[in-house]
Subunit: 339 residues, 4 copies
């Protein structure tokens, strides 16, 4: 950390800073510039709150040098992380697609689309069982029954299961049905849930909060990793901006930025970002072109009859066309995609 | 809801819309404009997902006419809500101030500031026991012990207690110590927690999510109210924008906007919005001038030694000066503030 | 336009609305819903300000049905626009790349990179002559001399020239040197400049304002088109959001959104959006994959010695690698790119 | 400036940094931390572009220590600036209110409201003559005739005149009619216009750009000041965020932030920020409470008949009530307001 001293600070005020540092076992390295006095702080800063320095009258500003996450940082595993869930590798050369309806509505609904997803190369079946909806009067999901449906259908079609969990109280139960837990955007900084998921050891698809910076997002990953669970994939799903033409603004730059800052695999969710089916294919191709390790896409056997987010779900036919394009593109990018 | 039909839609495609409406027991009211066909939808729309219309090829856009919340809307109680917690009224003529340290650090710390807060007219003692921190390595709060400290100190000084709860599992326990539960910005759309707080019947201070629109915020309030708990005050604490000079951007306009949209009392938190003590007083006065029913302010006996967010905490002396100005201002605005 | 009437409005207040409409030669189409009275407005609304309705006490809200632009809308030319500048077609099957240094520094500098750009398939030479810099003390560009350098170098290498103009007073002069005028993000709503560029008839590369919605951007295009100049390409260059990991947030979704809303060609500028050279290649590929008609990329013979925005400029070698990938990808997407 | 060296950088790469610094006459001050090497840069950095360092492989990040503006900084005039325009002082103890219709529509319209404004203590008459509108088909203002009307009416009522200028070509003409030039939000970074206004020497009301940070805004002020014109007041008028309940989000914190960063007077425009008349009074009081030196408010003799932005204009009666409250509040805040 670097401390920029306010011009005009008295010697006594500067000493106050130095005492604070000494009190916490830190070394000060003073450097006099043309217009400002700068103090470099050396040592383990984890026990000193930046705020208790910021409040001192001589402090103009504090400049952090290190990120606040360690396990999630690129430096921790410069070669990148890839991990297996059963027979599927996340973060490897092969692109991984997760697909399925927005919400699980019935076993028939999920069954009717599963074989088609598998045939297009999807490796994960997705579907909402616990649906966080902004109105308490909207369809809230089939809950436990939804997870059971996903598991049964997935097992019949050699697919893995991923679905969102919204409470620490559901994790134990969920472990019986899920191969990968999704943490949704609204719970991206629900640290109690993150810690609980970390303790569970179940692989996690960690969505970005709607207004979470990339550094905060990696801080959320660190919560899970600090409990010993390193099987995390990060999922970019759009951020909130002033633009309303799409539901969220897909931050496509997050893909290369994450590739530089962390070793964790990166998945993109074009369906929630766009909010409209017609934008899902171009955004999916863009995500792969930008370097994503996979996609999570909403596909519904009959979007017009869907109970939630119909507008953003692809038909199985549109999904087939898209995966064919992804397969062709993977070659150019040095990746592979299942035949 | 109003449906704008895409120019060039075929009669068959328009009929598809009409069939969807009929299937859900809704009446269509067709109106032909110069350049667009418009369909007004009449009836109970709660069982028809907007998305299952949006996906139809003839639909250009859907325009909602009604808000998705009812109990939280101004129309539900046009005269406004005021409610009592013990001997304190929220939403009445008297301005209510909640004050205390950012984090509860020890009984001595809280005790040393409580009498001063009370003497300045504060009615609630606040202090973080469960601290949601963006790094897992930062101080996470004293948890249960923190709540017990707050209760003991508050009882000695005729203060009420408000503190944040971050998990549905802590509510039962919390009820023994708290007069008002805070839901923090990061849990503003943790719907499981909102429902649980709703069922508890304990009064709630509902902070706005960092990227929550005012309508979504009222949707969060609706979650609590739909469980029968109407004792809610809304707390504006700043939103995330591109500006970094303050930690968040205090949305001062939210105060008059809420006064028009809802009957619930409005509290402002200038400390978290600003992130710096020097901005707390001007923002507090601005909030009162804009029509807020109260404030929640961080005051620490010795900000320099604070374990978290030192930079944004007022000294007891600065708090005294501020409350004197608030008292003077309350007269001009037709409000009162305790002597 | 649709008028939603406030619940509880008196008959007299509703009549006030109807009179306003009649006074402006508009027809009202009244429709009574379960909870709201709705008035559809039919006729030419261009002479009635929405505001003079919004101010009436019976008006709860106004819902515009039509966009405020006409010439820029997809409906005006559903088949899409492609136009020629000399021997180059914008908006056709072939992808068009514009490349060159951020700022024109000297004839040697531009000359040393031009042949390489041409060999990689670039059709336009770009380079800043008038540099809008946020500090008055930063390098402001070579101005007129910069344009002359661009022209001379481009002519030697069979390239076209595009560069930014920042004042209506420079247009006449610029016409002698430029094949396409760039309007920069900071002047995206400088309507005087837009009108002047429209009158000039010179093709325009219209960058999106840093906080301009897509609809406002098309409104800016409409300013130019309403003067009779239809040779416009829209350039997405990133928007301002809360995320600071990249200089701006590239709104990749804008590409498919624009393809649905307008007939104008779409170009993407990954260099300004990213602000860092290492992100330019992945974002370029993403833009092409999303359906862009071309790119504008910063390439500098020696980025380390550049006078402005060195960090975001590619080396000629990196540009060669990128264009080879773009060529390969164009085939999959049904586009072409020069050998 | 401080350079953080990437971990793992070779000695050769670090030397490359040191050579760049030496080449530009700068001194390096090296400091070895526990986990990073830090280089402090001492000397006049104005000739070295940060970018030409950022591009070097050994540079992890650059941390600016100084702001890029000097004349606009608080340090330049710690005591604050107040300046006179005729008999009115901006930035003094007395609060200054500028008021008038959004757009000048006719001499009768302006005349009918001017005496009332003066009687309520307003010192400036405002009104749009050149109206930047997002659609080319909307009313664009009376232009020169509008300025003449403002001048004649103001002179009859002992008022000063302020109005927006949108092109450097109108400044010479404007000087005959205006006491203070407004630079609008859309031209906040039109640096050619800023320089021209700086050269003119006419006092300037510089509005904040809709997505301009406070530091960029002070950079815009620096453009004007660097031409020798120090008579600038800054006008906060709302920024663009995700919230759509108000037209812009009034950044009330900008008032105390500016008071800490600059010596220039601060004016607030609640009318454009809110976009609705009903929010103007609470936001005006909030602005004064937060420490603003004045307000610019839209008042129209008959808002229902206004040609532009009717919804946000106060009636003369509402303006009278508001200024009475401002007068009462000024006493508490140690300010004055004309009887």
């Amino acid at each position: 950390m670097i401390i920029v001293v306010r011009p005009g600070a008295t010697e006594e005020q500067v000493n106050e800073i130095l005492e604070q540092l000494e009190m916490h076992g830190l070394t000060a390295h003073i450097s006099e510039g043309t217009e400002r006095l700068i103090i470099g702080v050396i040592g383990d800063k984890s026990r000193l709150s930046a705020d208790s320095l910021e409040v001192l009258p001589a402090v103009e500003k504090l400049v952090p040098i290190m990120e606040s996450y360690k396990l999630a940082s690129k430096a921790f595993r410069p070669e990148g992380t890839s991990f297996d869930i059963k027979n599927v590798t996340l973060g490897g050369k092969e692109l991984v697609i997760m697909a399925g309806p927005c919400a699980v509505e019935s076993e028939e609904q999920v069954e009717s689309v599963a074989a088609k997803l598998r045939a297009c190369g999807a490796k994960f079946l997705r579907g909402g069982a616990y649906k966080p909806r902004s109105s308490p009067y909207a369809f809230q999901g089939l809950e436990k029954e939804g997870l059971q449906i996903l598991r049964r259908v997935a097992d019949r079609h050699d697919l893995l299961v991923t679905s969102e969990i919204t409470s620490e109280n559901d994790i134990e139960y969920a472990a019986d049905y899920l191969d990968m837990i999704q943490i949704g955007a609204r719970n991206a900084q629900n640290f109690r849930l993150l810690s609980a998921v970390g303790k569970s050891g179940i692989p996690v698809l960690l969505k970005r909060g709607i207004a979470e910076t990339i550094d905060e997002w990696l801080g959320s990953a660190e919560y899970i990793m600090s409990e010993g669970n390193y099987k995390i994939a990060l999922c970019e799903r759009g951020i909130r901006t002033f633009e309303t033409a799409t539901r969220s603004t897909l931050d496509i730059s997050a893909v290369p930025v994450l590739k530089g800052k962390t070793h964790l695999p990166v998945i993109v969710d074009p369906s929630h970002a766009a909010g409209k089916a017609q934008y899902v294919a171009p955004l999916s191709l863009a995500a792969i072109a930008a370097g994503a390790d996979g996609l999570i896409i909403e596909v519904h056997p009959n979007p017009k009859a869907a109970l939630s987010d119909a507008a953003q779900q692809l038909t199985p036919e549109a999904f087939k066309t898209l995966t064919d394009e992804i397969r062709a593109m993977s070659v150019i990018l040095g990746r592979t995609y299942p035949e």
